[in-house]
Symmetry: C2
Subunit: 169 residues, 2 copies
């Protein structure tokens, strides 16, 4: 049987609940959450700008921003302009910043497979050297990989769950 | 003003509708669509296995699989076992396979920031050399990058939209 991965034989023992992809999607698994984070990477800080640039109602923007603050993806910090009441701005935390490869890989996939009629809307380049930017799946020895090159093995989480089952049965 | 990116000055002219991230999320912007694709990468082919392993109802599995076939992420091909009626199996297309960096980067983020109590459930290794696998944002000159190292510039899509606006106004 042809498989990209070798996990199938462990698959039912493994279970979605343990999956780090599923856990990640609990936090960022809505389109509007991902677009709010996109805006944060683009430098957006202020509530009104988030709502307008994501293209959602203030209610939706408020819900998403609050959830992302609760998840420690964004911080919410007060600022005040002369003669105005205190407002808040939102900034990426390290946890939020670590989502950057997800957004760049979505961008890359969208550019390749679902671009607008005029082609990719934006391009990313390395600020220092000007070379174009991509996401790559690589191993620690430096090989660039496709899905079929990657083997999926049980990690500590699956091994611990198995040990518990073996002990209690 | 501190910005990760330089796009803010073009930001309102640019608009979400043109965004390749938003376009990608039109196709894979639900949690269950992403988890169905995860299963396809893990080697799942059959309807019943998708429903059980993603942990959704048959109705939801059916809707997601159909949408992913309509989007040419998966193909649906007949197979028949002796004495059984014809059934269908689902396989990733090249377009589907190109989503691999998105899933690996979600996995990596989940492992880092939202792992289970026992640690990462699975680990990925290069089939040939055994080294661990990660996703990296890199430029074509080989530099590994963080968000702050990346400049966002208007691409062909934004330039064409600007030209049209300039012509019609």
């Amino acid at each position: 049987m042809e498989n990209e991965f070798d996990l199938t034989r462990h698959r039912d023992a493994y279970g979605s609940a343990h999956c780090s992809i599923a856990r990640a999607l609990e936090v960022v698994g809505t389109r509007s959450a991902m677009l709010v984070l996109r805006e944060a990477f683009y430098g957006t800080r202020r509530f009104d700008d988030f709502a307008r640039r994501v293209g959602v109602t203030e209610q939706v923007a408020s819900t998403r921003l609050k959830a992302l603050v609760d998840e420690r993806m964004l911080t919410r910090e007060p600022y005040q302009e002369p003669g105005q009441r205190t407002r808040f701005e939102y900034r990426l935390t390290d946890k939020g910043r670590d989502l950057y490869p997800v957004l760049v890989s979505l961008l890359q996939w969208g550019d390749a497979h679902n671009p607008g009629p005029d082609g990719p809307p934006i391009r990313l380049q390395h600020r220092d050297c000007g070379a174009p930017v991509t996401v790559e799946v690589r191993c620690a020895a430096g090989h660039e990989l496709r899905a079929r090159d990657v083997e999926v093995l049980p990690g500590p989480g699956v091994r611990a769950a198995r040990k518990r089952r073996a002990t209690t049965s």
